[in-house]
């Protein structure tokens, strides 16, 4: 760490190799993308508020659903977790920084360019200069190969860049965790957030290259005359789905395992009891990761797999609910007879436990092959994955932000505004997503700009919930700005006897911490 003169202004952020500064950039970037993707969701809900076509043309609607999904998955949820990993993993394991600081800088700075390219294609479409990607975030062939608009090539480049960024970030996390732990911190003494991130990083290293492979084959099919996914040349579009979901299902766990780690960190603090079943949490995380490679075809129950295939993937999928159930049980057991208080991070964590479990249960319903024939590609699926991703992943990110914000800024956030943010989000998110279960069971298909009249009332209220949830997120911006500008000074511990090395450094955490490693007993 031989700094001569710290660069200032823009250069400070462009050239920084400090894990805290890079973490902050990741988090702010993901917040920005959350609002961009959220704006697209508002366009979708505005169009769906009433039956018939009002605002946008079907093709533009498809571009909105596509880019909403891509930006939320790769731009909002994943960078937010990487940001938290950057900030917290070195602090939690007593390391001075990430193991590969310059790689860390590069991983981050690829992202704005990747999303710049993707957003550029949307702006281009808005100006009437050719469609943005419009084939859904799953970009199934042949929609994305034979029928993809020219901007598909922008999309391919953007996905490659996101993938490289994620892989480098994951390599950094693994090397940091394996080689930079403070003396005495054995693997089984690591905080669960570190554990879940270690497993997530391995998932990223294993499946992001598969995604890169899928888009590379797409590129070759589009321009270089190959026929990986084209039946005319002996290929098979179903192969695309196999490859995509071989990436896609572990990806789902990439977006939820760090959330499990966050909730496992926060609940013990506010229940004032150590986490129930630490070792079982670690094993459950690892077994979820292993099983995630064996369930991909449950996204493909309707493509005509043989009976044995359907049965295998159905049973494997149901099996995942066992380790997940272990986790939910452990969280509840941690709270059991604890001295619970309900600070804002705890409120978000509690909402996570309840609402994520609802999403998990609807997932179990979808796992049942014969039932899935009806649910497939309906709003029931939309309800399911928004429960696990919005009230799961996003709520856990909010919980983490509120939990560590005083450590980051040195100031306590305004509890009144933060509670307003929580309650407003909680009510509106359920108004937004719960009725989707019913319209889905009534077989309203997903990704359509118009729908039969019997779904009109439900969709009206879903849209009202959507707008209100969107507006509620602006409250978080207010809390954030107020907290960065000032407020009650936070102590080093911030909360009452929280566990973890991050609470031994002062608030705000100085730029350089643990230059002399702490000793863990």
């Amino acid at each position: 760490m031989a700094h001569h003169a710290n660069p200032t202004g823009l250069k400070r952020w462009l050239l920084t190799t400090n894990h805290k500064e890079i973490g902050s950039m990741y988090l702010l970037f993901s917040l920005a993308m959350f609002f961009v993707g959220g704006f697209m969701a508002m366009v979708i809900r505005a169009e769906l508020m009433y039956p018939g076509l009002q605002l946008v043309q079907p093709d533009f609607f498809n571009q909105m659903t596509t880019t909403h999904g891509l930006i939320m998955v790769f731009g909002a949820v994943m960078p937010a977790f990487v940001g938290l990993a950057n900030w917290m993993i070195p602090l939690m394991i007593g390391a001075p920084d990430m193991a590969l600081p310059r790689l860390n800088n590069w991983s981050f700075w690829i992202l704005p360019f990747a999303f710049g390219i993707l957003i550029f294609s949307i702006i281009k479409s808005f100006l009437g200069l050719g469609a943005a990607p419009n084939f859904g975030w799953t970009f199934y062939a042949p929609l994305s190969t034979t029928y993809g608009p020219p901007s598909t090539d922008f999309f391919i480049l953007a996905v490659h860049m996101m993938g490289i960024s994620s892989i480098m970030g994951a390599v950094n996390v693994v090397v940091t965790i394996f080689n930079m732990r403070a003396p005495g911190m054995t693997l089984m003494k690591m905080p669960l957030f570190v554990w879940t991130w270690l497993v997530t990083a391995f998932l990223l290293i294993a499946v992001m290259p598969v995604l890169a492979g899928a888009v590379t084959m797409m590129l070759f099919d589009r321009h270089f005359g190959t026929s990986f996914f084209d039946a005319a040349g002996g290929g098979d579009p179903v192969l695309f789905q196999h490859i995509f979901w071989f990436f896609g299902h572990p990806e789902v766990y990439i977006m939820i395992l760090p959330a499990f780690g966050i909730v496992s960190t926060i609940i013990p603090t506010f229940a004032r009891k150590p986490l129930f079943g630490y070792a079982s949490m670690v094993y459950a995380t690892a077994s979820i990761a292993v099983l995630s490679f064996l369930v991909w075809a449950h996204h493909m129950f309707t493509v005509g797999l043989p009976l044995q295939g359907n049965l295998f993937f159905m049973y494997m999928t149901m099996l995942i609910s066992v380790p997940t159930g272990v986790k939910v049980f452990n969280w509840v057991a941690t709270m059991w007879r604890g001295s619970m208080t309900f600070e804002v991070p705890m409120l978000f964590s509690l909402a996570f436990v309840v609402l994520f479990t609802i999403g998990g249960l609807s997932g179990l319903m979808l796992a049942i092959t014969p039932a899935d024939q009806q649910y497939h590609d309906t709003y029931f699926v939309v309800a399911h994955f928004h429960y696990v991703l919005v009230t799961g992943a996003i709520f856990s990110i909010y919980a983490a932000a509120y939990y560590w914000l005083p450590k980051w800024t040195g100031n306590m956030f305004h509890t009144g505004w933060a509670k307003f943010h929580f309650w407003s989000s909680l009510i509106t998110v359920n108004l937004l997503f719960f009725p989707m279960h019913f319209v889905g069971l009534g077989s309203m298909p997903r990704r359509i700009p118009d729908y039969p009249l019997q779904f009109a009332d439900m969709n009206f209220w879903i849209s009202i919930g959507g707008f209100a949830f969107g507006v509620s997120q602006i409250i978080f911006i207010i809390v954030l700005i107020k907290c960065i500008r000032g407020g009650e000074k936070a102590t080093a511990e911030v909360w009452e006897n929280p566990e973890g090395l991050e609470w031994t450094v002062p608030s705000p955490a100085p730029l350089h911490t643990f230059e002399v490693p702490p000793t863990v007993k």
Binding site: L100, V171, I205, A212, A214, A231
Partner: protein
């Protein structure tokens, strides 16, 4: 101490990067051929071996006489024939009849008609697909236009025969089979569709 950490870091980076590169190679180089082999063995995706006729016609007759037709004759299969053309080829492609009713073990001859309404000679090839996919492995084609490329002069019309049968061991639960043919343009200039 510092140098040993550097060594450990480097070793781990090499391992992790090789996993990433290996997974990329697995997805692009290994998975597509593996998938093809797997589908060939199981007939899962309804793709048919286009290389050659499966069994000569005489042995079909032998099979049906040796085993006796009493069992097979008691059931019939409804075979539906559908045709499609890829958007890259402006040909008119139809089957003579929409479907045939046939007994497993007995071969049937059906005819398809293809017209090239354009003003230039073109080549095309029909790719078959079978639904349900499980029926694929019981389908035997004695003669099929799908075995070779079709070259049609401008305005030419051609009748194309298909002679096929289903083996007698086709499972009882398969009562209807759809044979779907999609006609694709052959890009003779770069030969990439082969």
């Amino acid at each position: 101490m510092q140098s040993s950490l550097e060594y450990k870091n480097k070793r781990l980076i090499v391992i992790l990067t090789s996993i990433a590169v290996g997974m990329f190679a697995f997805a692009t180089l290994l998975l597509p051929p593996l998938y093809d082999v797997f589908c060939d063995l199981t007939g899962l995706n309804g793709k048919i071996d286009l290389s050659a006729p499966a069994v000569p016609a005489q042995s079909v007759a032998q099979v049906s006489t040796e085993n006796g037709t009493n069992q097979a004759a008691s059931r019939t299969l409804q075979v539906q024939l559908t045709t499609k053309t890829d958007r890259a080829i402006p040909w008119i492609f139809n089957s003579e009849s929409n479907g045939v009713r046939m007994t497993p073990g007995e071969s049937t001859l059906v005819s398809f008609q293809v017209t090239n309404p354009t003003k230039k000679a073109m080549s095309g090839r029909a790719i078959p697909s079978v639904t349900p996919a499980q029926a694929t492995q019981y389908l035997r084609k004695i003669e099929c236009f799908c075995f070779q490329e079709q070259h049609l002069a401008a305005g030419e019309t051609r009748d194309m025969p298909l002679k096929f049968y289903f083996t007698e061991d086709i499972p009882e639960n398969i009562k209807e089979v759809t044979l779907s043919y999609t006609l694709y343009a052959m890009e003779t200039d770069n030969g990439s569709t082969n």
